[in-house]
């Protein structure tokens, strides 16, 4: 904690009511016989609320537009899609695109492979990330800063260059066309370690020292205190990692493009070429929509946990 932060904390003399202090604040106001000011403030507040909502809703529309466009395109015929003036709603709705998308690719197998790779790599990656972030945030060891700076530095090299060398490595290890090759090379993400370390650093060290005195083991402390407190970050990492598995394309195509291990993006890309080598975009869009849907569900489901994680973090103040 920085000095400034402590200052703020010292300023806070525990509020009288913790139930709903905004009402409490208003109540205090009205007692002070300042009705006019209060009225003006209410108008201000409504205006501010209005502006806030207007801003958020406009941003939301901007954000949503491409999503709508994807669905719009996925329901068009190929010739309507190729039209010079795009139509905002398909003249002829082609639900059959979705059926075609599902049938054209061996979608069941693709889903299965992707889920396996996604889940396993997310779990392993979380373990590695938590352990590393803990070491960087809580433990003192020689060369810590140097190592951390070195890790950060690796983020700065364009990943495309790694592909050439890594391809040689996994081929020599005999990993081609296995799940291993899809999972192991990308388990460590310096991004995630950095992110989680920042989060761990916010948890007061006193807790750790107290736990040490009680004889609690590191792992137990991690599990009981650190992890619950940084749940939002961990969930963010989970989402990002799952997304990665779902959307990865170049690497899987290179190293595991056989029927048994092919992932969803590769399968979908390959499935919709028509005879001239052109892509049937509406069907592909339908496929993208189909693939996005489970992710969307996962996100909606996990969002509750983000909320919970946040509300539980009553450690500060």
């Amino acid at each position: 904690m920085s000095d400034e932060n402590k200052e703020i904390r010292n300023d806070i003399k525990a509020p009288k009511s913790t139930a709903d202090s905004s009402y409490a604040a208003k109540a205090v106001m009205s007692e002070k016989d300042l009705k006019k000011t209060a009225a003006a403030q209410t108008v201000m507040q409504i205006l501010v609320k209005f502006l806030v909502y207007a801003f958020l809703i406009i941003m939301a529309i901007i954000v949503l537009f491409p999503f709508y466009w994807m669905i719009n395109s996925s329901l068009k015929t190929l010739s309507e899609y190729r039209e010079v003036v795009p139509t905002f709603w398909p003249r002829k709705i082609m639900f059959s695109n979705y059926l075609e998308a599902y049938n054209a690719a061996n979608l069941g197998r693709l889903f299965f492979n992707t889920v396996i790779v996604g889940v396993v790599s997310t779990l392993l990656s979380l373990v590695i990330t938590v352990l590393s972030a803990f070491a960087f945030a809580r433990l003192e060891f020689k060369g810590k800063n140097l190592l951390f700076a070195g890790l950060l530095a690796t983020m700065m090299i364009p990943g495309e260059l790694f592909t050439i060398t890594n391809y040689t490595t996994v081929t020599n290890l005999g990993w081609r066309n296995t799940y291993t090759v899809l999972i192991v090379p990308f388990l460590v993400s310096v991004f995630y370690i950095y992110l989680l370390r920042q989060n761990f650093l916010q948890i007061p060290n006193e807790l750790y020292l107290a736990a040490k005195v009680d004889g609690t083991s590191d792992i137990k402390y991690l599990w009981r205190v650190m992890i619950p407190l940084s749940l939002p970050t961990l969930i963010s990492i989970t989402i990002l990692k799952m997304m990665g598995a779902w959307n990865s394309y170049i690497w899987p195509r290179l190293v595991a493009n056989d029927e048994a291990h092919r992932l969803i993006t590769n399968g979908l890309r390959n499935a919709f070429k028509d005879t001239t080598g052109d892509v049937n975009y509406p069907v592909q869009m339908a496929a993208v929509a189909l693939v996005s849907f489970p992710l969307f569900l996962v996100f909606v489901f996990l969002r509750k946990y983000i909320m919970k994680g946040v509300s539980r973090s009553g450690i500060k103040g």
Binding site: S79, R82, E83, V84, V85, A104, N145, L146, A149, G150, A153, T163, I164, Y167, T168, T171, N172, R176, R253, L254, N257, D258, R269, N270, A271, F272, K273, D274, T275, T276, G277, D278
Partner: protein, 471 residues
């Protein structure tokens, strides 16, 4: 402080590298050594990379089965690896590790790239071989191509395999396409317009159309690069060379036709895919008042040049297809496109794999039935002349019209101009040359520069320099 340490780390890494610099033996392209007896009947698995969609792999699978009746111990493991560029990227990543396929779909540019590692098998020895091979059904064939088989290939396609500067044969044509002129037959007939066969005639036709319909852009040319390269070939003026000085397109003839096209563009006669911002087939089949009446595009994309049918299945206008205009109608030239196949070798390779790959390639490319069926399913053109006489294919061609059977019409036009095909030289850098002349043409047509000659001169100079820069 941290910075210093990191710099030290980087420097240390740099030092390390100096020590690991490699040393390997050099080698020259040598022909393939055919083992005595040719194929010895041993068990081999052949990996084949292509870009076929599921409807074409169905056709392929039927013929793999046929092939296995003759050679049951040669297993074909074929994979679709995305599009043409994906195949190139995959294969060029795999070659240094030694996991490349035995056979790959290829364009000449790809082969030039693979050739940097000398991994492409030259086919001359295989083609010439008279070794007798026993097949499982008791029959015999020679390992090489018979004279009849060789003569059956459409010459322009077959020659593509020898465009690599050393005269050796590196690829066998698999399935081809070219560029054709699509025109609005209904409109042409109604107004008594004759289909242009030369660029001069085309200019007059454009002027006429512009009079009849001032809101139109008479001609859309999809591929700027093909337009430039076709013009070079038709004029007999240099474009590129596989040996010696590669980039030869900066010359007066080429500047001349570019300037002429710029004038056409200024008059509103013509547009291209890049300038228009979309496939010009979209303009050709457009139902708006802005449209075109001619479109030059790939023969394999015929169905995209056909307007949308109404509810009764009638087309708003009939499409006509003709060869593209020429500089000299008696010596026509048009670019040949579409995949060929090449055979790749590895270090210490079992020569039987190469032999088996060759047998399979030969089987597919010389089989009239396969070529016929593959072409009908793909919209591409067969590479053998005799496919025309195959009853199924002949029936397909006989249905050719400007509506429902437009693919057949396109194939028919292609098969009628087999003498016109050529391919441009392939070398490491030929694909860069292609993209440079493409942007060159777009730039020269559309820029609003006041001093046109100076602008064109500079654009040509820059394009050559960029080619060399990226070499």
């Amino acid at each position: 402080m941290k910075a210093k340490r990191i710099i030290a780390l980087v420097l240390a890494a740099v030092m390390l590298i100096g020590l690991t610099a490699c040393g390997q033996n050099g080698g020259k392209t040598v022909g393939f050594d055919i083992p005595a007896g040719g194929y010895d009947g041993s068990e081999v698995t052949i990996k084949f990379y292509h870009t076929m969609g599921s409807n074409l792999t169905d056709v392929l699978n039927i013929y793999v089965e046929e092939f296995n009746k003759l050679y049951p111990k040669i297993h074909i493991d074929h994979q679709q690896v995305g599009g043409y560029d994906d195949v190139r990227n995959q294969v060029s990543t795999e070659i240094p590790v030694g996991t490349q396929p035995n056979i790959a779909y290829c364009y000449p540019d790809h082969v030039a790239l693979y050739n940097l590692s000398k991994a492409v098998v030259t086919l001359d020895e295989l083609i010439a071989s008279q070794e007798k091979i026993k097949r499982a059904d008791g029959s015999e064939e020679i390992l090489g191509l018979t004279d009849a088989q060789k003569a059956d290939f459409i010459e322009g396609y077959y020659k593509e395999g020898q465009q690599f500067g050393d005269g050796k044969m590196y690829t066998i044509p698999f399935s081809k396409s070219t560029e054709v002129l699509y025109y609005n037959k209904t409109f042409f007939e109604a107004n008594g317009i004759k289909v242009p066969t030369t660029w001069d005639e085309l200019e007059q036709v454009c002027a006429k159309i512009k009079q009849l319909d001032p809101k139109s852009i008479p001609l859309g040319y999809d591929s700027e690069a093909n337009w430039f390269i076709n013009m070079c070939e038709q004029y007999g003026s240099p474009y590129t060379s596989a040996s010696g000085e590669h980039y030869q397109f900066d010359n007066d003839t080429n500047k001349g036709f570019v300037k002429r096209f710029r004038e056409w563009y200024d008059k509103g006669y013509v547009t291209t895919q890049k300038i228009y911002g979309g496939y010009t087939s979209g303009l050709f089949i457009s139902e708006n008042e802005t449209k075109s009446y001619m479109s030059i595009g790939s023969s394999a994309g015929a169905t995209h040049q056909r307007p949308t049918a109404d509810a009764d299945g009638n087309y708003p206008f009939e499409v006509g297809i003709a060869p593209i205009p020429q500089v000299n109608a008696s010596n026509p030239k048009v670019i040949s496109q579409g995949p060929s196949v090449c055979i790749l070798k590895k270090k210490n390779q079992n020569p039987q794999e190469v032999i088996a790959s060759w047998l399979f390639v030969k089987f597919l490319t010389t089989s009239v039935e396969f070529q016929a069926e593959f072409s009908m399913n793909s919209g591409y053109v067969p590479v053998l002349k005799s496919v025309k006489t195959n009853p199924v294919y002949a029936d397909f061609l006989s249905k050719a019209d400007g509506g429902k059977f437009i693919s057949a019409l396109s194939a028919k036009i292609c098969l009628d101009q087999v003498n016109a095909y050529y391919t441009s030289p392939a070398f490491n850098g030929s694909s860069e040359a292609r993209s440079q002349v493409e942007s060159l043409l777009v730039k020269c047509l559309s820029d609003s520069a006041s001093n046109v000659d100076e602008f064109i001169n500079k654009a040509f100079r820059d394009a050559v320099e960029e080619c060399k820069d990226k070499e």
